[in-house]
Protein backbone atom coordinates (compact mmCIF):
# COMPACT_ATOMS: atom_id res chain seq x y z
CA UNK A 1 0.00 0.00 0.00
CA UNK A 2 1.43 3.35 -0.98
CA UNK A 3 1.06 6.03 1.54
CA UNK A 4 1.35 9.62 0.50
CA UNK A 5 4.20 10.68 2.68
CA UNK A 6 3.59 14.35 2.12
CA UNK A 7 0.01 14.12 3.34
CA UNK A 8 0.85 12.08 6.40
CA UNK A 9 3.47 14.59 7.38
CA UNK A 10 1.13 17.50 7.09
CA UNK A 11 -1.45 15.62 9.15
CA UNK A 12 1.04 14.83 11.87
CA UNK A 13 2.33 18.39 12.08
CA UNK A 14 -1.25 19.60 12.22
CA UNK A 15 -2.04 17.19 15.05
CA UNK A 16 1.03 18.27 16.97
CA UNK A 17 0.24 21.92 16.49
CA UNK A 18 -3.32 21.41 17.58
CA UNK A 19 -2.11 19.59 20.64
CA UNK A 20 0.24 22.42 21.47
CA UNK A 21 -2.31 25.12 20.90
CA UNK A 22 -4.74 23.37 23.21
CA UNK A 23 -8.17 24.55 24.11
CA UNK A 24 -8.88 26.84 26.99
CA UNK A 25 -11.81 25.82 29.17
CA UNK A 26 -13.56 29.08 28.27
CA UNK A 27 -13.26 28.43 24.54
CA UNK A 28 -14.60 24.95 25.13
CA UNK A 29 -17.50 26.30 27.11
CA UNK A 30 -18.25 28.86 24.43
CA UNK A 31 -18.27 26.17 21.78
CA UNK A 32 -20.62 24.00 23.82
CA UNK A 33 -22.88 26.96 24.47
CA UNK A 34 -23.08 27.90 20.80
CA UNK A 35 -23.89 24.33 19.85
CA UNK A 36 -26.80 24.31 22.31
CA UNK A 37 -29.81 25.35 20.23
CA UNK A 38 -32.09 26.11 23.16
CA UNK A 39 -29.52 28.35 24.81
CA UNK A 40 -28.81 30.24 21.59
CA UNK A 41 -32.53 30.72 21.02
CA UNK A 42 -32.83 32.01 24.58
CA UNK A 43 -29.94 34.40 24.02
CA UNK A 44 -31.50 35.73 20.83
CA UNK A 45 -34.82 36.25 22.61
CA UNK A 46 -33.10 38.12 25.43
CA UNK A 47 -31.19 40.33 23.01
CA UNK A 48 -34.39 41.15 21.15
CA UNK A 49 -36.29 41.92 24.33
CA UNK A 50 -33.46 44.16 25.54
CA UNK A 51 -33.41 46.00 22.21
CA UNK A 52 -37.16 46.41 22.54
CA UNK A 53 -36.75 47.84 26.03
CA UNK A 54 -33.97 50.22 25.01
CA UNK A 55 -35.11 51.62 21.68
CA UNK A 56 -38.81 50.71 21.71
CA UNK A 57 -39.60 54.07 23.24
CA UNK A 58 -38.40 55.93 20.14
CA UNK A 59 -41.03 54.23 18.00
CA UNK A 60 -43.90 55.02 20.30
CA UNK A 61 -46.27 57.60 18.88
CA UNK A 62 -47.85 58.22 22.27
CA UNK A 63 -46.10 58.66 25.59
CA UNK A 64 -46.95 56.33 28.44
CA UNK A 65 -48.85 59.00 30.34
CA UNK A 66 -50.91 60.57 27.55
CA UNK A 67 -54.61 59.73 27.44
CA UNK A 68 -56.08 59.25 24.01
CA UNK A 69 -59.46 60.93 24.42
CA UNK A 70 -60.73 59.61 21.12
CA UNK A 71 -60.79 56.03 22.41
CA UNK A 72 -61.66 56.74 26.00
CA UNK A 73 -64.84 55.08 27.12
CA UNK A 74 -65.00 52.81 24.09
CA UNK A 75 -61.70 51.03 24.48
CA UNK A 76 -63.17 47.64 23.58
CA UNK A 77 -64.33 48.95 20.18
CA UNK A 78 -61.67 51.47 19.26
CA UNK A 79 -58.66 50.72 21.45
CA UNK A 80 -57.53 47.55 19.76
CA UNK A 81 -54.04 47.26 18.33
CA UNK A 82 -53.79 49.21 15.10
CA UNK A 83 -51.09 50.97 13.13
CA UNK A 84 -53.49 53.63 11.89
CA UNK A 85 -53.83 55.53 15.14
CA UNK A 86 -50.35 54.73 16.47
CA UNK A 87 -51.43 52.33 19.23
CA UNK A 88 -49.44 49.34 18.03
CA UNK A 89 -50.46 47.28 21.04
CA UNK A 90 -53.81 49.01 21.55
CA UNK A 91 -54.64 51.09 24.59
CA UNK A 92 -55.41 50.25 28.18
CA UNK A 93 -58.79 50.94 29.71
CA UNK A 94 -57.87 54.54 30.48
CA UNK A 95 -56.85 55.21 26.87
CA UNK A 96 -53.12 55.13 27.52
CA UNK A 97 -50.92 53.67 24.80
CA UNK A 98 -50.13 50.08 25.69
CA UNK A 99 -47.02 49.97 23.51
CA UNK A 100 -45.37 52.73 25.52
CA UNK A 101 -46.52 51.11 28.75
CA UNK A 102 -45.13 47.72 27.79
CA UNK A 103 -41.80 49.30 26.83
CA UNK A 104 -41.67 50.97 30.21
CA UNK A 105 -42.77 47.83 32.05
CA UNK A 106 -40.10 45.83 30.25
CA UNK A 107 -37.44 48.34 31.24
CA UNK A 108 -38.45 48.27 34.88
CA UNK A 109 -38.88 44.52 35.13
CA UNK A 110 -35.54 43.86 33.46
CA UNK A 111 -33.89 46.46 35.67
CA UNK A 112 -35.31 44.92 38.84
CA UNK A 113 -34.15 41.50 37.69
CA UNK A 114 -30.64 42.62 36.83
CA UNK A 115 -30.18 44.82 39.89
CA UNK A 116 -31.55 42.11 42.19
CA UNK A 117 -29.21 39.56 40.69
CA UNK A 118 -26.37 42.10 40.82
CA UNK A 119 -26.85 42.63 44.54
CA UNK A 120 -26.96 38.87 45.00
CA UNK A 121 -23.72 38.46 43.06
CA UNK A 122 -21.80 41.10 45.00
CA UNK A 123 -23.10 40.48 48.51
CA UNK A 124 -23.51 36.71 48.17
CA UNK A 125 -20.09 36.16 46.63
CA UNK A 126 -18.22 38.25 49.18
CA UNK A 127 -20.19 36.82 52.10
CA UNK A 128 -19.89 33.22 50.98
CA UNK A 129 -16.23 33.53 50.02
CA UNK A 130 -15.39 35.13 53.36
CA UNK A 131 -17.29 32.51 55.35
CA UNK A 132 -15.73 29.68 53.38
CA UNK A 133 -12.19 31.05 53.44
CA UNK A 134 -12.06 32.11 57.08
CA UNK A 135 -13.80 28.95 58.25
CA UNK A 136 -14.08 27.86 61.85
CA UNK A 137 -16.46 29.58 64.20
CA UNK A 138 -16.88 32.63 61.95
CA UNK A 139 -18.09 30.35 59.20
CA UNK A 140 -20.49 28.61 61.58
CA UNK A 141 -22.01 31.86 62.76
CA UNK A 142 -22.25 33.36 59.28
CA UNK A 143 -23.89 30.33 57.73
CA UNK A 144 -26.23 29.79 60.67
CA UNK A 145 -27.38 33.38 60.15
CA UNK A 146 -28.11 32.56 56.52
CA UNK A 147 -30.02 29.45 57.61
CA UNK A 148 -32.15 31.53 59.94
CA UNK A 149 -32.81 34.20 57.33
CA UNK A 150 -33.76 31.54 54.80
CA UNK A 151 -36.43 30.05 57.00
CA UNK A 152 -38.24 33.38 57.13
CA UNK A 153 -41.15 33.69 54.71
CA UNK A 154 -39.43 36.41 52.75
CA UNK A 155 -42.32 37.46 50.51
CA UNK A 156 -44.34 38.43 53.56
CA UNK A 157 -41.43 40.29 55.10
CA UNK A 158 -40.79 42.04 51.79
CA UNK A 159 -44.42 43.20 51.60
CA UNK A 160 -44.18 44.23 55.26
CA UNK A 161 -41.13 46.35 54.40
CA UNK A 162 -42.79 47.88 51.34
CA UNK A 163 -45.93 48.79 53.24
CA UNK A 164 -44.16 50.21 56.25
CA UNK A 165 -41.52 52.26 54.49
CA UNK A 166 -43.41 53.33 51.41
CA UNK A 167 -43.57 51.71 48.02
CA UNK A 168 -40.64 53.28 46.26
CA UNK A 169 -38.30 51.78 43.69
CA UNK A 170 -35.34 52.01 46.04
CA UNK A 171 -37.25 50.18 48.77
CA UNK A 172 -38.16 47.49 46.26
CA UNK A 173 -34.51 47.10 45.24
CA UNK A 174 -33.41 47.02 48.85
CA UNK A 175 -36.06 44.47 49.77
CA UNK A 176 -35.33 42.19 46.83
CA UNK A 177 -31.61 42.61 47.40
CA UNK A 178 -32.00 41.63 51.05
CA UNK A 179 -33.32 38.20 50.19
CA UNK A 180 -31.60 37.42 46.92
CA UNK A 181 -28.06 36.82 48.16
CA UNK A 182 -28.82 33.99 50.60
CA UNK A 183 -28.72 31.10 48.12
CA UNK A 184 -25.77 32.63 46.34
CA UNK A 185 -23.71 32.83 49.53
CA UNK A 186 -24.34 29.13 50.22
CA UNK A 187 -23.26 28.06 46.76
CA UNK A 188 -20.19 30.30 46.83
CA UNK A 189 -19.19 29.05 50.27
CA UNK A 190 -19.31 25.46 49.07
CA UNK A 191 -17.08 26.29 46.12
CA UNK A 192 -14.69 28.27 48.27
CA UNK A 193 -14.26 25.36 50.65
CA UNK A 194 -13.08 23.18 47.77
CA UNK A 195 -10.80 25.93 46.45
CA UNK A 196 -9.10 27.03 49.60
CA UNK A 197 -6.82 24.04 50.03
CA UNK A 198 -5.47 24.18 46.50
CA UNK A 199 -1.77 24.84 45.92
CA UNK A 200 -2.06 28.33 44.47
CA UNK A 201 -3.94 29.57 47.51
CA UNK A 202 -1.38 27.95 49.74
CA UNK A 203 1.36 29.65 47.72
CA UNK A 204 -0.35 33.00 48.09
CA UNK A 205 -0.69 32.50 51.81
CA UNK A 206 2.93 31.41 52.11
CA UNK A 207 4.11 34.58 50.40
CA UNK A 208 2.21 36.62 52.94
CA UNK A 209 -0.76 37.89 50.92
CA UNK A 210 -3.40 39.20 53.35
CA UNK A 211 -6.63 37.21 53.61
CA UNK A 212 -8.93 39.81 52.07
CA UNK A 213 -6.62 40.08 49.07
CA UNK A 214 -6.57 36.30 48.62
CA UNK A 215 -10.36 36.31 48.67
CA UNK A 216 -10.66 39.07 46.09
CA UNK A 217 -7.70 38.24 43.86
CA UNK A 218 -7.60 34.46 43.94
CA UNK A 219 -10.85 33.00 45.22
CA UNK A 220 -13.49 35.22 43.62
CA UNK A 221 -12.12 35.01 40.02
CA UNK A 222 -12.19 31.22 40.26
CA UNK A 223 -15.83 31.29 41.30
CA UNK A 224 -16.97 33.28 38.28
CA UNK A 225 -18.34 30.31 36.35
CA UNK A 226 -20.65 29.16 39.11
CA UNK A 227 -21.65 32.71 39.93
CA UNK A 228 -22.45 33.49 36.29
CA UNK A 229 -24.70 30.45 35.93
CA UNK A 230 -26.49 31.12 39.15
CA UNK A 231 -26.89 34.83 38.40
CA UNK A 232 -28.58 34.07 35.06
CA UNK A 233 -31.00 31.74 36.82
CA UNK A 234 -31.55 34.34 39.51
CA UNK A 235 -32.63 37.15 37.18
CA UNK A 236 -35.93 35.45 36.22
CA UNK A 237 -36.60 34.67 39.87
CA UNK A 238 -36.17 38.33 40.74
CA UNK A 239 -38.48 39.29 37.87
CA UNK A 240 -41.01 36.77 39.16
CA UNK A 241 -40.77 38.19 42.67
CA UNK A 242 -41.25 41.75 41.50
CA UNK A 243 -44.12 40.80 39.20
CA UNK A 244 -45.77 38.89 42.02
CA UNK A 245 -45.70 41.93 44.28
CA UNK A 246 -46.78 44.29 41.51
CA UNK A 247 -49.60 41.93 40.59
CA UNK A 248 -50.93 42.38 44.11
CA UNK A 249 -50.70 46.15 43.65
CA UNK A 250 -47.98 46.44 46.28
CA UNK A 251 -44.99 46.92 43.99
CA UNK A 252 -44.11 49.77 41.63
CA UNK A 253 -46.63 52.57 41.56
CA UNK A 254 -48.21 54.62 38.82
CA UNK A 255 -47.10 56.21 36.56
CA UNK A 256 -44.32 53.60 36.71
CA UNK A 257 -45.35 50.15 35.70
CA UNK A 258 -43.92 46.67 35.33
CA UNK A 259 -44.95 43.38 33.76
CA UNK A 260 -46.66 42.26 36.93
CA UNK A 261 -48.70 45.45 37.17
CA UNK A 262 -49.60 45.30 33.47
CA UNK A 263 -50.63 41.64 33.71
CA UNK A 264 -52.71 42.49 36.73
CA UNK A 265 -54.42 45.33 34.84
CA UNK A 266 -54.98 43.14 31.81
CA UNK A 267 -56.40 40.37 33.96
CA UNK A 268 -58.75 42.83 35.59
CA UNK A 269 -60.21 44.09 32.35
CA UNK A 270 -60.23 40.98 30.20
CA UNK A 271 -63.95 40.33 30.55
CA UNK A 272 -64.64 43.63 28.78
CA UNK A 273 -63.22 42.12 25.62
CA UNK A 274 -59.89 43.94 25.73
CA UNK A 275 -57.74 40.86 25.63
CA UNK A 276 -54.71 42.62 24.16
CA UNK A 277 -54.17 44.27 27.51
CA UNK A 278 -53.36 40.87 28.96
CA UNK A 279 -51.78 39.34 25.88
CA UNK A 280 -48.90 41.75 25.18
CA UNK A 281 -47.39 42.05 28.67
CA UNK A 282 -47.90 38.33 29.21
CA UNK A 283 -46.14 37.55 25.94
CA UNK A 284 -43.06 39.56 26.87
CA UNK A 285 -43.05 38.19 30.40
CA UNK A 286 -43.23 34.58 29.26
CA UNK A 287 -40.64 34.77 26.48
CA UNK A 288 -38.17 36.60 28.70
CA UNK A 289 -38.47 34.02 31.45
CA UNK A 290 -38.02 31.32 28.81
CA UNK A 291 -34.96 33.11 27.50
CA UNK A 292 -33.33 33.37 30.90
CA UNK A 293 -34.08 29.78 31.86
CA UNK A 294 -32.69 28.47 28.57
CA UNK A 295 -29.56 30.61 28.74
CA UNK A 296 -29.00 29.65 32.38
CA UNK A 297 -29.38 25.95 31.63
CA UNK A 298 -27.14 26.31 28.58
CA UNK A 299 -24.45 28.09 30.61
CA UNK A 300 -24.60 25.43 33.28
CA UNK A 301 -24.20 22.66 30.73
CA UNK A 302 -21.42 24.56 28.96
CA UNK A 303 -19.42 25.27 32.12
CA UNK A 304 -19.99 21.93 33.80
CA UNK A 305 -16.73 20.02 33.45
CA UNK A 306 -18.60 16.73 33.77
CA UNK A 307 -20.08 17.35 30.34
CA UNK A 308 -16.75 17.19 28.50
Amino acid sequence: MVIDEQKMKSLSTKLVQDEVRGRSPWADARKRFIRNKGAMLGLIILVLVSIFAIIGGYFAVWSNEELDFSVMGQVAQMGQPSFANGHYFGTDNLGRDLFARVVQGTQISLMVGVVGAGIAVIVGTLYGATAGYVGGRTDQIMMRTVDILMSIPYMFVLILLLVMFGRSMSMLFLGIGLISWLDMSRIVRGQTLSLKNREFIEAARATGVPAWKIIIRHIVPNLLGVVAVYATLLVPLMILTESFISFLGLGVQEPLTSWGALISEGAGTMNYGTLWQLAFPLFFFVITLFGFFFVGDGLRDALDPKER
Partner: protein, 307 residues
Amino acid sequence: MIAFILRRLAVAVPTLLLLIVFSFILMHMAPGGPFTAERALPPQVIANLEAQYGLNDPLWLQIWHYLYNIVVHFDFGPSFVYPDRSVNQLIAAGFPVTLTYGILSFVSAIVLGVSLGVVAAIWHNSWVDYIAVGISIGAQVLPNFVMAPLLVLVLTLWYRLLPGGGWSFSDPSFWIMPVIALATSYMASIARITRSSMLEVLGSNHIRTARAKGMPEYRVIIRHALKPAMLPVISYLGPVFVSMITGSVVIDMYFSTGGIGKAFVDSALNRDYAVMMGVTILVGALTILFNLIVDVLYAWIDPKIRY
Protein backbone atom coordinates in the same frame (compact mmCIF):
# COMPACT_ATOMS: atom_id res chain seq x y z
CA MET B 1 -33.61 10.41 66.12
CA ILE B 2 -35.29 12.13 69.05
CA ALA B 3 -32.07 13.95 69.85
CA PHE B 4 -31.93 15.08 66.23
CA ILE B 5 -35.47 16.45 66.37
CA LEU B 6 -34.78 18.17 69.66
CA ARG B 7 -31.64 19.76 68.28
CA ARG B 8 -33.54 21.06 65.28
CA LEU B 9 -36.22 22.44 67.58
CA ALA B 10 -33.53 24.20 69.57
CA VAL B 11 -32.72 26.14 66.42
CA ALA B 12 -36.32 26.57 65.27
CA VAL B 13 -37.65 28.23 68.41
CA PRO B 14 -35.07 31.05 68.53
CA THR B 15 -35.59 31.60 64.81
CA LEU B 16 -39.27 32.14 65.38
CA LEU B 17 -38.64 34.45 68.32
CA LEU B 18 -36.18 36.39 66.19
CA LEU B 19 -38.80 36.74 63.44
CA ILE B 20 -41.34 38.06 65.93
CA VAL B 21 -38.92 40.55 67.48
CA PHE B 22 -37.64 41.64 64.08
CA SER B 23 -41.09 42.31 62.65
CA PHE B 24 -42.13 44.05 65.84
CA ILE B 25 -39.16 46.42 65.69
CA LEU B 26 -39.82 46.96 62.00
CA MET B 27 -43.39 47.91 62.80
CA HIS B 28 -42.22 50.23 65.53
CA MET B 29 -39.80 52.01 63.21
CA ALA B 30 -42.27 52.47 60.40
CA PRO B 31 -43.33 56.05 59.71
CA GLY B 32 -47.03 56.68 60.09
CA GLY B 33 -49.27 54.48 62.15
CA PRO B 34 -52.69 52.94 62.00
CA PHE B 35 -54.18 56.09 63.48
CA THR B 36 -52.73 58.44 60.89
CA ALA B 37 -55.78 59.36 58.87
CA GLU B 38 -56.32 61.94 56.20
CA ARG B 39 -58.50 63.89 58.55
CA ALA B 40 -56.27 64.22 61.57
CA LEU B 41 -57.78 63.04 64.84
CA PRO B 42 -57.53 65.33 67.86
CA PRO B 43 -54.29 64.64 69.75
CA GLN B 44 -56.20 63.56 72.86
CA VAL B 45 -58.01 60.86 70.91
CA ILE B 46 -54.74 59.59 69.47
CA ALA B 47 -53.17 59.61 72.92
CA ASN B 48 -56.13 57.61 74.26
CA LEU B 49 -55.93 55.11 71.43
CA GLU B 50 -52.20 54.70 71.87
CA ALA B 51 -52.64 54.18 75.58
CA GLN B 52 -55.33 51.60 74.89
CA TYR B 53 -53.09 49.62 72.55
CA GLY B 54 -50.10 50.08 74.84
CA LEU B 55 -48.08 52.01 72.29
CA ASN B 56 -46.65 54.36 74.92
CA ASP B 57 -44.78 51.70 76.85
CA PRO B 58 -41.07 51.31 76.23
CA LEU B 59 -40.26 49.11 73.26
CA TRP B 60 -38.93 46.14 75.21
CA LEU B 61 -42.07 46.08 77.34
CA GLN B 62 -44.27 46.10 74.24
CA ILE B 63 -42.28 43.25 72.72
CA TRP B 64 -42.48 41.33 75.97
CA HIS B 65 -46.26 41.77 76.17
CA TYR B 66 -46.66 40.74 72.57
CA LEU B 67 -44.47 37.66 72.96
CA TYR B 68 -46.11 36.74 76.24
CA ASN B 69 -49.59 36.91 74.75
CA ILE B 70 -48.61 34.83 71.75
CA VAL B 71 -46.75 32.15 73.66
CA VAL B 72 -49.05 31.83 76.65
CA HIS B 73 -52.47 32.74 75.28
CA PHE B 74 -51.84 32.26 71.56
CA ASP B 75 -53.29 35.72 71.21
CA PHE B 76 -52.03 38.10 68.52
CA GLY B 77 -53.85 41.06 69.99
CA PRO B 78 -56.58 43.25 68.53
CA SER B 79 -56.69 44.45 64.95
CA PHE B 80 -55.70 48.10 64.64
CA VAL B 81 -58.29 48.93 62.02
CA TYR B 82 -61.27 46.82 63.05
CA PRO B 83 -61.36 47.34 66.82
CA ASP B 84 -64.14 44.83 67.30
CA ARG B 85 -62.18 41.97 65.78
CA SER B 86 -59.04 40.34 67.01
CA VAL B 87 -56.20 39.19 64.77
CA ASN B 88 -57.01 35.64 65.78
CA GLN B 89 -60.56 35.96 64.46
CA LEU B 90 -59.40 37.45 61.18
CA ILE B 91 -56.86 34.67 60.67
CA ALA B 92 -59.20 31.93 61.83
CA ALA B 93 -61.79 33.04 59.29
CA GLY B 94 -59.43 32.54 56.36
CA PHE B 95 -57.15 29.77 57.49
CA PRO B 96 -59.39 26.74 56.75
CA VAL B 97 -59.87 27.95 53.18
CA THR B 98 -56.16 28.45 52.59
CA LEU B 99 -55.43 25.10 54.18
CA THR B 100 -57.97 23.28 51.98
CA TYR B 101 -56.78 24.44 48.60
CA GLY B 102 -53.19 24.62 49.82
CA ILE B 103 -53.07 20.96 50.79
CA LEU B 104 -54.90 19.94 47.61
CA SER B 105 -52.41 21.87 45.46
CA PHE B 106 -49.45 20.58 47.41
CA VAL B 107 -50.54 16.95 47.05
CA SER B 108 -51.49 17.24 43.40
CA ALA B 109 -48.23 19.03 42.53
CA ILE B 110 -46.24 16.23 44.16
CA VAL B 111 -48.29 13.35 42.76
CA LEU B 112 -48.47 14.70 39.21
CA GLY B 113 -44.92 16.04 39.20
CA VAL B 114 -43.39 12.83 40.50
CA SER B 115 -45.38 10.61 38.14
CA LEU B 116 -44.55 12.81 35.17
CA GLY B 117 -40.86 12.77 36.09
CA VAL B 118 -40.76 9.01 36.67
CA VAL B 119 -42.58 8.27 33.42
CA ALA B 120 -40.24 10.58 31.52
CA ALA B 121 -37.18 8.92 33.04
CA ILE B 122 -38.38 5.36 32.36
CA TRP B 123 -39.11 6.06 28.72
CA HIS B 124 -36.07 8.30 28.36
CA ASN B 125 -35.72 9.96 24.93
CA SER B 126 -39.06 8.69 23.70
CA TRP B 127 -42.03 10.85 22.76
CA VAL B 128 -43.40 10.41 26.30
CA ASP B 129 -40.20 11.96 27.63
CA TYR B 130 -40.34 14.83 25.16
CA ILE B 131 -43.96 15.60 26.05
CA ALA B 132 -43.18 15.49 29.77
CA VAL B 133 -40.13 17.74 29.37
CA GLY B 134 -42.15 20.07 27.16
CA ILE B 135 -44.91 20.33 29.75
CA SER B 136 -42.48 20.94 32.56
CA ILE B 137 -40.56 23.63 30.68
CA GLY B 138 -43.77 25.32 29.55
CA ALA B 139 -45.35 25.22 32.99
CA GLN B 140 -42.25 26.70 34.58
CA VAL B 141 -42.96 30.13 33.15
CA LEU B 142 -46.59 30.01 34.25
CA PRO B 143 -46.55 31.16 37.88
CA ASN B 144 -49.79 31.42 39.81
CA PHE B 145 -50.48 35.03 38.88
CA VAL B 146 -50.27 34.13 35.20
CA MET B 147 -52.22 30.89 35.48
CA ALA B 148 -55.06 32.50 37.42
CA PRO B 149 -56.17 34.98 34.71
CA LEU B 150 -55.57 32.45 31.94
CA LEU B 151 -57.74 29.85 33.67
CA VAL B 152 -60.51 32.33 34.27
CA LEU B 153 -60.29 33.47 30.66
CA VAL B 154 -60.58 29.98 29.22
CA LEU B 155 -62.71 28.08 31.73
CA THR B 156 -64.99 30.85 32.89
CA LEU B 157 -65.26 33.51 30.21
CA TRP B 158 -65.01 31.35 27.09
CA TYR B 159 -66.44 27.97 28.06
CA ARG B 160 -68.37 28.93 31.20
CA LEU B 161 -67.49 25.68 32.90
CA LEU B 162 -66.40 26.84 36.33
CA PRO B 163 -67.22 29.74 38.64
CA GLY B 164 -64.65 32.50 38.24
CA GLY B 165 -64.25 33.18 41.93
CA GLY B 166 -65.65 32.69 45.38
CA TRP B 167 -65.39 29.77 47.71
CA SER B 168 -67.61 27.04 49.05
CA PHE B 169 -66.54 24.14 51.19
CA SER B 170 -69.34 21.95 49.82
CA ASP B 171 -68.85 22.59 46.11
CA PRO B 172 -65.56 21.32 44.67
CA SER B 173 -66.06 23.25 41.43
CA PHE B 174 -64.84 26.31 43.34
CA TRP B 175 -61.65 24.48 44.27
CA ILE B 176 -60.47 23.43 40.82
CA MET B 177 -59.06 26.66 39.45
CA PRO B 178 -57.24 27.78 42.63
CA VAL B 179 -55.62 24.36 42.86
CA ILE B 180 -54.51 24.30 39.20
CA ALA B 181 -53.25 27.87 39.34
CA LEU B 182 -51.26 27.25 42.49
CA ALA B 183 -49.89 23.83 41.59
CA THR B 184 -48.82 24.16 37.95
CA SER B 185 -45.38 25.72 38.19
CA TYR B 186 -44.35 23.61 41.20
CA MET B 187 -45.56 20.47 39.47
CA ALA B 188 -43.24 21.42 36.62
CA SER B 189 -40.22 21.90 38.89
CA ILE B 190 -40.92 18.67 40.75
CA ALA B 191 -41.22 16.82 37.44
CA ARG B 192 -37.85 18.17 36.29
CA ILE B 193 -36.11 17.27 39.54
CA THR B 194 -37.68 13.81 39.64
CA ARG B 195 -36.73 13.10 36.04
CA SER B 196 -33.08 14.00 36.42
CA SER B 197 -32.61 12.23 39.75
CA MET B 198 -34.50 9.16 38.46
CA LEU B 199 -32.24 9.05 35.39
CA GLU B 200 -29.20 9.17 37.65
CA VAL B 201 -30.54 6.41 39.89
CA LEU B 202 -31.53 4.20 36.95
CA GLY B 203 -27.93 4.33 35.75
CA SER B 204 -26.48 3.25 39.08
CA ASN B 205 -25.04 -0.13 40.01
CA HIS B 206 -27.70 -1.45 42.33
CA ILE B 207 -30.32 -1.07 39.60
CA ARG B 208 -28.12 -2.99 37.17
CA THR B 209 -27.78 -5.75 39.76
CA ALA B 210 -31.51 -5.88 40.36
CA ARG B 211 -32.14 -6.14 36.64
CA ALA B 212 -29.41 -8.73 36.22
CA LYS B 213 -30.97 -11.09 38.68
CA GLY B 214 -34.13 -11.01 36.61
CA MET B 215 -36.35 -8.83 38.69
CA PRO B 216 -39.32 -7.53 36.70
CA GLU B 217 -38.85 -3.91 35.64
CA TYR B 218 -41.82 -2.48 37.53
CA ARG B 219 -40.51 -3.98 40.77
CA VAL B 220 -37.02 -2.62 40.10
CA ILE B 221 -38.50 0.82 39.79
CA ILE B 222 -40.88 0.66 42.73
CA ARG B 223 -38.63 -1.23 45.14
CA HIS B 224 -35.18 0.07 44.28
CA ALA B 225 -35.25 3.20 42.16
CA LEU B 226 -38.07 5.29 43.58
CA LYS B 227 -36.81 5.73 47.11
CA PRO B 228 -33.32 7.08 46.36
CA ALA B 229 -34.73 9.14 43.49
CA MET B 230 -37.06 10.90 45.92
CA LEU B 231 -34.29 12.49 47.98
CA PRO B 232 -33.81 15.66 45.87
CA VAL B 233 -37.58 15.99 45.61
CA ILE B 234 -37.96 15.88 49.37
CA SER B 235 -35.35 18.55 49.90
CA TYR B 236 -37.28 20.68 47.41
CA LEU B 237 -40.55 20.31 49.35
CA GLY B 238 -39.63 22.98 51.89
CA PRO B 239 -39.31 25.77 49.28
CA VAL B 240 -42.45 24.51 47.53
CA PHE B 241 -44.41 24.72 50.74
CA VAL B 242 -43.25 28.29 51.38
CA SER B 243 -44.00 29.37 47.83
CA MET B 244 -47.45 27.82 47.99
CA ILE B 245 -48.32 29.74 51.12
CA THR B 246 -46.98 32.87 49.44
CA GLY B 247 -48.91 32.06 46.27
CA SER B 248 -52.11 31.76 48.28
CA VAL B 249 -52.00 35.55 48.54
CA VAL B 250 -52.47 35.81 44.78
CA ILE B 251 -55.11 33.08 44.77
CA ASP B 252 -57.07 34.79 47.52
CA MET B 253 -56.92 38.11 45.74
CA TYR B 254 -57.72 36.87 42.28
CA PHE B 255 -60.35 34.25 43.01
CA SER B 256 -61.80 36.02 46.06
CA THR B 257 -61.49 32.81 48.00
CA GLY B 258 -61.19 34.67 51.29
CA GLY B 259 -58.17 32.88 52.76
CA ILE B 260 -55.47 34.39 54.94
CA GLY B 261 -53.83 35.92 51.87
CA LYS B 262 -56.75 38.31 51.63
CA ALA B 263 -56.42 39.23 55.28
CA PHE B 264 -52.75 39.92 54.62
CA VAL B 265 -53.16 42.13 51.55
CA ASP B 266 -56.12 43.98 53.06
CA SER B 267 -54.14 44.70 56.17
CA ALA B 268 -51.15 45.73 54.05
CA LEU B 269 -53.31 48.26 52.22
CA ASN B 270 -54.92 49.45 55.48
CA ARG B 271 -51.64 49.56 57.40
CA ASP B 272 -53.16 47.18 59.90
CA TYR B 273 -49.80 46.13 61.31
CA ALA B 274 -51.20 43.80 63.92
CA VAL B 275 -52.83 41.57 61.29
CA MET B 276 -49.78 41.69 59.00
CA MET B 277 -47.54 40.60 61.81
CA GLY B 278 -49.94 37.91 62.90
CA VAL B 279 -50.03 36.42 59.41
CA THR B 280 -46.26 36.73 58.96
CA ILE B 281 -45.58 35.01 62.26
CA LEU B 282 -48.11 32.27 61.58
CA VAL B 283 -46.60 31.64 58.16
CA GLY B 284 -43.11 31.72 59.63
CA ALA B 285 -44.09 29.17 62.26
CA LEU B 286 -45.64 26.91 59.63
CA THR B 287 -42.53 27.22 57.47
CA ILE B 288 -40.18 26.36 60.29
CA LEU B 289 -42.36 23.44 61.37
CA PHE B 290 -42.54 22.14 57.82
CA ASN B 291 -38.80 22.39 57.29
CA LEU B 292 -38.39 20.36 60.45
CA ILE B 293 -40.72 17.68 59.07
CA VAL B 294 -38.80 17.65 55.79
CA ASP B 295 -35.49 17.26 57.61
CA VAL B 296 -36.82 14.37 59.64
CA LEU B 297 -38.27 12.74 56.54
CA TYR B 298 -34.96 13.17 54.76
CA ALA B 299 -33.00 11.65 57.61
CA TRP B 300 -35.46 8.77 57.71
CA ILE B 301 -35.17 7.98 54.00
CA ASP B 302 -31.46 8.54 53.55
CA PRO B 303 -29.47 6.30 55.89
CA LYS B 304 -26.31 8.24 55.08
CA ILE B 305 -27.54 11.28 57.03
CA ARG B 306 -26.13 11.43 60.54
CA TYR B 307 -28.51 12.62 63.19
